[in-house]
Amino acid sequence: MSGVLDVIAWFLLVVGALLSLSAGVALIRFPDLLSRMHAATKPQVLGLLLVLIGCALRLRDAVDITTLLLVAVFSMATAPVAAHMIGRAAYRAGQARADLLVVDELADADDKR
């Protein structure tokens, strides 16, 4: 039983790490700040969740699992806020590359709040 759990944990940890790696690659490769924010905040959320589940399966200790649960909850609650603040600041500072945008309906909004 514990052997099976170890294998699942191993698998989840590797997949989570690969997702984080791909986030890093995307961060370097994507053309402008707004698309980079997608890479910086998202695949990594799923990657982090998988790593946390993998750790929970490996540790199997109530004290550790509750802490991991808190890490998951707070990172999911805060990652979108951070992405939004940086994205918003970048757009207002004119860092969004207009040539890469097919549609930009924020530019048409009368007052950019």
Binding site: L34, A39, A62, P80, Y91, L100, E105
Partner: protein, 178 residues
């Protein structure tokens, strides 16, 4: 109104106590009472803005929302991965304005959070008064795709309101077509 305010405070106190107990990692009378005392102190010292929650949690709607949310997240994560490794391809994107049909503060926040957690969409700006979300979408090639994305957002809002919404919001969602 007054009763609702107290109910909100009690829920907040219980939530904070829950976090405290999780931080200790063990449930005992000491951690529970200690957490409750600290939660009350925190709520008195840092009063929360009045977020009124008029809805009820519907178990079936919640399950449906969570299931769809997790699948979206996994699928979209791997799309971003594919995009990251497709060398020589420069992804184009779009910023679309989506007007939500039932924009309560909480509904707006939850829709924005759920959208942001799924890769490929990022909230750039929010117009709280009009209930408009400005979403940056990755890998959009045409205006039609942008329109399609708007419908997806409205579908997401519908799922969230079916899971957590108030009866009034539910009525709007069922009456106004997407």
């Amino acid at each position: 109104m007054k009763g609702g305010r107290w109910r909100d405070r009690c829920i907040a106190a219980l939530g904070l106590t829950g976090i405290w107990v999780l931080l200790w990692g063990s449930f005992s009378a000491l951690t529970f009472v200690g957490g409750l005392i600290i939660a009350v102190i925190v709520l008195v010292v840092f009063p929360l803005p009045a977020v009124t929650y008029a809805g009820r949690i519907h178990p079936l709607g919640t399950l449906r929302f969570l299931g769809r949310f997790l699948t979206d997240m996994v699928v979209a994560s791997f799309q971003v991965v594919r995009l990251a490794f497709s060398f020589g391809h420069v992804p184009t994107s779009a910023i679309v304005a989506v007007k939500l049909r039932a924009p309560s503060d909480l509904g707006l926040t939850m829709t924005a959070e759920a959208l942001s957690l799924v890769p490929g969409s990022l909230i750039v700006d929010v117009d709280r008064k009009k209930g408009v979300l400005y979403v940056h979408v990755l890998e959009v090639k045409s205006a039609e795709q942008a329109e399609q994305f708007k419908e997806d957002v409205l579908e997401l809002e519908r799922r969230i309101i079916r899971a957590f919404g108030s009866p009034a919001e539910r009525r709007i969602i069922e009456e106004v077509p997407a």
